[in-house]
């Protein structure tokens, strides 16, 4: 009996959710930019996931600096490796680091932002004091120096390091969200009904900022790509041979821009980075369209 009634209850709730989803999908289809962001992202994800099954991994060959052809759509590099294959094989690791970092940053930011915003007082002062200090330190030089002092070993430890130092912007945003939300009477009402702080944060506050959390993951992924490709370009990440940033560095250092034959060598990683960034940014717009009815209706 209980099951049946629960199913009935949630069935109705689900059908409402389904209605909302259908409405959101229609809004998404109508917003061409949001839609194109989604498409770009899907293309990259497919490329990263199934590309390696169809395209042989890049291997050195005597055919160096080959111009674009059917066999090598973007030509080959100084080692005779196929540039297109390198882009495809670089996609997987780029997406992994982008989203792992994006998620890590967001988790830390939500955690610290919610604690600071909800508890206030000294805890707030300490957390936001840390944030102020980290915000004042330019991140790229900091990573460069840290790279000299500690060796980055793999993608995940790099992602962790970036997250540990890049949370303040997002944390500040979440904190102010929490600050304004906790002033709302429904938080006090929950307290009166005997719910504890953890229950209130998890059940009352987080659902209210869920859209912002998702959007933040994407925006932080954009940031992570910037940092990782920059570090790779500057030669700080030695463990990733197919990183687009490293390709960019090699193409740039070898002066390939001055040769029409090798032009694609540099344009390929540039294009890959620009399109992925653009796709993510437009995708974050798509998320806003889905979650924020005010954006959806253009009011």
């Amino acid at each position: 009996m209980a099951r049946a009634s629960l199913r009935k209850t949630y069935g109705k709730a689900l059908s409402r959710t389904k209605e909302n989803l259908v409405e959101a999908f229609h809004a998404l289809v109508e917003d061409k930019l949001a839609m194109s962001g989604l498409i770009i992202l899907v293309v990259f994800v497919l490329m990263g996931l199934i590309g390696p099954f169809f395209i042989p991994p890049p291997t050195p060959s005597p055919n160096i600096y080959a111009p674009p052809s059917l066999q090598h759509p973007f030509g080959t590099d100084f080692q005779g490796e196929d540039i297109f294959a390198k882009i495809v094989y670089g996609t997987t690791s780029m997406l992994i680091i982008a989203f792992v970092t994006g998620i890590f940053i967001t988790i830390i930011a939500v955690l610290l932002g919610s604690i600071a915003g909800y508890l206030g007082g000294y805890v707030d002062n300490v957390i936001m004091g840390f944030a102020d200090i980290l915000l004042a330190i330019p991140q790229l030089p900091l990573f460069l120096i840290l790279a000299v002092l500690v060796k980055f070993l793999d993608i995940v430890s790099l992602a962790l390091l970036i997250s540990a130092l890049s949370w303040p912007t997002a944390a500040r945003a979440f904190r102010s969200q929490f600050l304004s939300l906790k002033e709302r009477d429904f938080v006090e009402a929950s307290r009166l009904l005997g719910f504890n702080s953890l229950e209130i944060i998890v059940y009352d506050l987080i659902p209210n900022i869920l859209p912002y959390i998702l959007i933040n993951v994407v925006l932080n992924a954009v940031y992570a790509i910037y940092i990782v490709t920059s570090l790779a370009y500057l030669g700080i990440i030695p463990f990733e041979s197919n990183n687009w940033g490293i390709m960019l560095y090699q193409a740039w250092a070898f002066g390939t821009i001055y040769n029409k034959r090798t032009f694609m060598y540099i344009m390929a990683p540039i294009g890959a980075i620009v399109f992925l960034q653009l796709g993510l940014l437009l995708f974050s717009r798509a998320l806003e369209v889905i979650f924020n009815p005010r954006v959806r209706t253009g009011e």
Partner: protein
């Protein structure tokens, strides 16, 4: 009021807002005459269109609003002009010089980065560039004293240094600085304390006499209307339901909505039976057919669901839009 001269005449005013669900019918075919030196109270609940009416008169409707039809004639020393069709640059001269507006709450009506003094000088200079600073400050002190404020303290303060009640009084003073013919006040006292509210409303009567000004008070609070108005307009769902002088409305209300509204307010004395108007306020995107009050009206007849009653004069100066009185 019958022998008074007209100052503002609103005809067939219809305003819609664009929203994602469709058009919101904020004002539907409003006809209203306002007379010189009267205190007109416009009473209505949220969504009745009373604020839209005020914003339409001063042509400050938000971007998503559209005036579908109508005219607002302003009688200015024997001339009559249509405020709505006038060129905006020309209309700017009418703003504040002829018609001043004190918005709801007035808490956020002052620029937070400017001193109160600057608000006065700016306003005067916009209309009279030659006015001297000393002259403006002298006049400002005068109008601040009228609303029982201390000019020395207030003039050099920033808005955030004043309490809500003081800001409200500053706004009323600011409205008086150019000696306008009409002051429109939207909920002039809703953010104030009980005692300050009463004092300001008492004060309004003196201000009307001293400055020879017509006052339009927009409110949801029947007590405010009872205190200051000598004529009352009752609005519901973007329409005028009843117009009459204050005695007729309070002691001889005709429209079932007005009657319900009056019976819905508890009193300090006596044993009056209280009444709760059933149902919910109408959806202005899809207003009910016929009379928009019929779903909540205890006297609704068949015709009420089909036709819209128009505002008809039942007694002298007492107009009502209800089929109950059409047969007379």
């Amino acid at each position: 009021m019958s022998n008074s001269e007209l100052i503002l005449s609103i005809r067939n005013l219809t305003v819609k807002y664009r929203s994602r669900r469709g058009y919101v019918n904020a004002l539907r075919n409003i006809n209203l005459d306002i007379y010189r030196n009267e205190a007109l109270g416009i009473v209505g609940e949220s969504g009745s269109g009373k604020t839209t009416l005020a914003l339409a008169i001063i042509r400050q409707l938000p971007n998503n609003a559209r005036i579908v039809s109508g005219s607002i004639i302003f009688y200015d020393d024997g001339n009559k002009v249509d405020l709505l069709t006038m060129n905006y640059d020309e209309f700017r001269r009418y703003l504040w010089e002829k018609i001043a507006f004190v918005p709801q709450g007035a808490m956020n009506s002052l620029n937070p980065v400017l001193k109160i003094k600057d608000h006065f000088t700016e306003t005067v200079k916009a209309h009279n560039p030659d006015a001297s600073k000393e002259e403006i400050v002298r006049k400002a002190r005068e109008v601040l004293k009228v609303t029982l404020l201390d000019p020395d303290r207030v003039l050099n303060s920033y808005p955030h240094q004043l309490s809500g009640g003081m800001k409200q009084r500053v706004m009323i003073s600011l409205a008086l600085i150019l000696n306008p013919a009409i002051i429109i006040m939207d909920e002039p006292t809703s953010s104030l304390d009980v005692v300050s509210q009463k004092i300001i409303l008492q004060n309004l009567k003196d201000i009307m006499r001293m400055f020879n000004v017509t006052i339009i008070v927009i409110t949801h609070d029947i007590g405010v209307v009872a205190e200051v108005a000598n004529r009352v307009v009752v609005m519901y769902a973007g329409k005028i339901m009843e117009v009459g002088d204050v005695e007729s409305i309070f002691y001889n209300a005709l429209h079932p909505y007005t009657q319900g509204l009056l019976k819905a307010v508890p009193k300090l004395r006596g044993e009056a039976e209280l009444y709760s108007i059933p149902g919910e306020p109408p959806d202005l995107v899809n207003p009910p057919s016929g009379c928009s009050f019929h779903p909540r009206c205890p006297f609704a007849m068949d015709i009420c669901t089909i036709n819209e009653p128009s505002l008809k004069e039942v007694n002298r100066g007492h107009l009502v839009a209800c089929f109950k009185y059409e047969t007379r």
